[in-house]
Assembly symmetry: C3
Homo-oligomer: 484 residues x 3
């Protein structure tokens, strides 16, 4: 079986961006019975959409929100399929409501894991069948990270990621951004407080990246011990030139009294000097407070005793700096927002959920090609990835779809940096760790910092955890490596 | 936490008809994204509908039944959501069929309890999200008594009760009444036999109240030991002036041979004298036999051995008094109607179920404001209720929604009688029992029969199980009460 | 209770083709609220459709496949109900997609066994309720053999069998045939390889019968030990004059290297002489390879070690005889087709699944009376069956619906042959075994080979496992039988 994998990978090395056995887009169109546009656009990650496209989606959602029942003629005869490999009734109903409002039909598979479809059937096969003729768009929820990326490779019709493990949930992020757009008229330059569990909620991480991309400022008010991880702060800096600063949060009052607040801003240092002093940036007035629930399912018991978790109450909202702040929450909430806050006109979390429908109407109508986006400009450049030509799957993430979907998900990686070489799994985006790097053509392996690595074509790169593994796979050490 | 509850309740005492934290109707309309009529009409109890409205619904259902597929243009772009916290496929499919026949869309959450939506999320929050933008009407099935009443308080869109515990199932009752209307052309004055388990089936109780309200007569033919409870008979008398009489059921033949039949009639005594003799009222000819199944899930084993349960067979239907009687059953049936009766033209139970669709079409089209009711007159006056301002939840019913939905369902009561004071839970309608009654303003408590109680405003009434509890809550006894 | 069954059966003997208690078609129409055509056409078995009708369905499916979204006006206001007593998401979604494409509505009951509908409710009652007013067509999946046949007897609306145990799955067979029609332009005269588990897959048996009926030739390439059963080969011979021959499969290469291939052909012997020699018929060129998965759920562990199961790989497809062969599979597949074959243009299994939608659109539109079949000719004659007038259920099949649906499914049989008398269960088609045969009128029993049996009317035939059972039931032996 191992040999088989190698052969397959070797064949595919001449066609770098294509899983062996997967249909090309042209073939996919044929599978779909002809007629389909051969270039289905997917929504797997928030990174798949350009800022211009997001603005255009917001404008489209505005139209839908104004008259939610006036667009039943938009998608007649079209069908969406909700394939949910883990239950999430709220997300599912939101998408299905959007499709019904557009006049389309809905296929529901709410509990795929208990169904015979998946008894031994690969995700890739299910996607090819459902996307091949049953439905015009697939809404996928899956517990494995990268599952939606895999599905998009095999689907002749658009795939929308409705949550893949803890990796991405792009329509939730779009919904949150759309709410800021509606409530504030813009996103750039806003000051947004992220409060609560900032460590384990990847949805919050996605939201933070998106805020930075729009040029908004972030005030982190973490639960003690659940601060924003360093790798998120680093990516914010690398990708969006965000500067983290110590924040003086005294004006936030009760909300931040037990928290070491941090201010993250894409503003240039010379601009910042106007608002900062020796103590760091001073929080003046906030546009939005985004509360999050404790991700208890990912905590060890020691990290959090729930009784002490941050709680937004009436008196916290009395702080002057929050006078014009809207209160947001992705819901469901538990105790982190007191019921007494519900009646406060600044509480928009139920409106926020309701707006999930028009923004998803916009996404569906756009991906189905029923409504063009106004002046959306060029789409985001899609990420190039490469099959792993030799050896075992280098992805270290046990929740990655490439580890369970072994029949179809050929291990793949994409390049983060060339010097030194840093690569990540093309499905779950987890960075690979490796001790030596080989070339599948020359069958020679190198130290990771060797300059010659830059000469190896991406589709020939092989990653080994140690020299022994490389030798065992039939590779020889480069001159200067002992290879013992 | 207990203190918090008290504070919240105290705040709300100035706004008596409103749960703290719940949106007002105006706010609810805003939550729904504007546009919604601010006065959503709900169907929680059969008592919510006036007789005139029921007659108008029957006429509307007649039109739908005549051409079931001719009304697909009635609700285009409208969406109903089936939120089922316990399974009931028949009820769900009946509602969904009705909505589809009207041209609307359907969202289905058939197993809410196994879904992530409800992991720690309150019913009130779920209702606000689904009613806030996903759906235009909510069909709710819930195991807790009073759940639909609670949902209606929080929903910006109409809530239809599809069964809340064993409390109410108003569309089943409407369907049964509609069948009598179709088969007999009227309901007033009909003689209807209720047979079987009359003790535990609350659906039968609702049906009995409704029959009395329409002026129909009821012949009770109970399974021995499962007679109509006294409190039902009392309410029939109090609310509808129904007189219970011993019935001479010999003409009912086999059907009543082992049963002590009782005749319940809203007719005036002087009218009755025509039909009665020393043995009581004599059953002459019956318009309908309504069979019920044993509510085995609510029996102790001793109360019923199933083999001896009443069974309607061919020869029972040969009784002269049943010559023109239709046979009804809410289904599913088990053995209480023999299969051989199915082919009898008087057996209408399958027709009865089928008519659930047009009557539910009428309810949906009406509540969604798509079809006006002809000359429906004024709606039933809605029941006024009051929050409990201090102390623990006085509702003694462990199945009441107010006991589990503690985050949002503030304990509430409504007044049944003023002298002596009798009050019932505003959710589950169970009457409260209390030893002393306090006033939350004066902080004085009284004996239940004290005349001064009439001077306390309803929103200041507090109920205590005993004097000690009142003292512990900081109340003082009125003059003449020892307060030890 | 036993006596009751006998009485019921005795009554019904005067109305031979009708279950006591079941509505006649006229009554069924009445149950449905009038209006319905009194002659609902069902699809229980592939045998229910004539060849002409199948050709007409294929032409209709061609139109739907050409423009899948252009027919949303075909079934407005119509509703299909998916009643699935065991999960089969793929089949369900395929039917629901078809109904939505036709503009109809869909009711989904995906897990009937866990629902309250079936708690003690008979299938016959559920069908009468759902078919009586909720839906215009019922798509039924059930684990018991013959369940769809039973449902069709009670349903006022068309019933489509979406799989009843391992008995029939006619729309799968129609889909397979439709694929041959599309890919090859005809079915008659094609050479089709059936490969893999030919013993336990009843779907393959149905496909084989249908191929023979169309005049196609079958090359059996079974997994060793899982050959086509003798009774299938015999029926192919009896019903379709198919001649089995030893096949020389050397030209099939790897695919058949471990298999004793057999050739089944409806061709006349004088035609065959052109293609055969001493070694039997030589496989020259194949039109289609139909791979099947191991039916592991029906194997004892000894019959199959999965590692050795037949596997279709790239090099097998290199055989010259397969140059123009399409590869089919009913899906889901496991390892019996290698992923590397997916990209081969001859692999049509994903297209095959996608074509399940237009063929099911054709079936739905036809059965709902929305589209007439062009020149479909006369329908297949429906099978006549007879109630068992006396004694216990003679069907020996423990999975037969007649054994569990005892409240409504009167035991019935149909006659396979008159001399000697051979009869089969009218539900599951399993042949009955009996030692003696009685007449319910004369109360005399006979040996199975007795000539007098031919004089007994079908509706009076009684089957006993032995003489003792007959005597116990009050029957006397015919002259010449000892009856001890």
């Amino acid at each position: 079986m191992a040999r088989m994998t190698q052969d397959t990978a070797a064949d595919s090395s001449s066609e770098p961006d294509r899983v062996e056995g997967a249909p090309t887009l042209r073939e996919a169109a044929v599978l779909a019975g002809g007629g389909e546009a051969p270039t289905a656009r997917h929504l797997v990650s928030i990174d798949d959409i350009s800022l211009q496209e997001m603005h255009a989606l917001f404008r489209l959602a505005d139209r839908f929100a104004a008259e939610p029942r006036a667009f039943a003629g938009t998608c007649p005869g079209f069908i969406s399929a909700s394939l949910f490999y883990e239950p999430s009734t709220r997300t599912r109903l939101s998408f299905e409501s959007a499709m019904l409002r557009l006049g389309g039909g809905v296929l529901t598979a709410a509990e795929m894991t208990s169904s015979s479809v998946v008894k031994g059937e690969s995700l890739a096969d299910t996607i090819r069948v459902v996307g091949g003729g049953y439905a015009d768009v697939i809404v996928l929820r899956h517990p494995s990270e990268g599952a939606a990326r895999l599905a998009a490779r095999y689907s002749p019709v658009p795939v929308i990621n409705a949550g893949d493990g803890s990796l991405e949930h792009p329509t939730q992020t779009l919904c949150d951004l759309y709410n800021l757009h509606v409530e504030r008229g813009k996103i750039e330059g806003l000051d947004v407080v992220l409060a609560g569990d900032l460590k384990y909620s990847r949805t919050v991480h996605s939201f933070a990246y998106a805020l930075a991309r729009f040029g908004a400022n972030i005030v982190c008010v973490p639960q003690a011990g659940l601060e924003l991880p360093d790798y998120v702060v680093e990516r914010l800096h690398e990708d969006f030139q965000v500067e983290p600063m110590r924040a003086d949060a005294r004006r936030l009052g009760n909300l931040a009294s037990n928290s070491d607040a941090v201010y993250l801003t894409p503003q240039k240092p010379h601009q910042l000097s106007l608002f900062t002093d020796a103590r760091g940036w001073e929080v003046q007035s906030v546009d939005a407070v985004y509360m999050t629930r404790p991700q208890t399912e990912r905590h060890s018991g020691a990290e959090l005793s729930e009784t002490t978790y941050l709680r937004l109450e009436k008196r916290a909202m009395a702080a002057e700096s929050l006078r014009d702040a809207v209160v947001m929450h992705p819901l469901p909430r538990r105790d982190e927002i007191s019921d007494e806050v519900d009646a406060d006109p600044r509480s928009i979390y139920f409106k926020q959920a309701a707006r999930g429908v028009p923004i998803r109407m916009a996404i569906l109508a756009w991906l189905l090609g029923r409504v063009p986006l106004e002046s959306a400009g060029e789409p985001s450049e899609s990420v190039e990835s490469y099959g792993v030509p030799v050896g075992p799957n280098p992805c270290p993430n046990p929740s990655c779809i490439s580890r369970t979907e072994t029949r179809h998900a050929e291990p793949r990686f994409r390049i983060l940096d060339r010097d030194p070489l840093r690569v990540a799994c093309a499905y779950c985006t987890r960075e690979l760790s490796h001790a030596v790097i080989g070339c599948s053509r020359s069958r020679i392996f190198h130290a990771p910092q060797a300059g010659t690595i830059r000469l190896i074509l991406p589709e020939h790169l092989v990653f080994f955890g140690n020299e022994e593994a490389a030798v065992e796979a039939g590779f020889r050490p480069a001159v200067g490596l002992t290879g013992h």
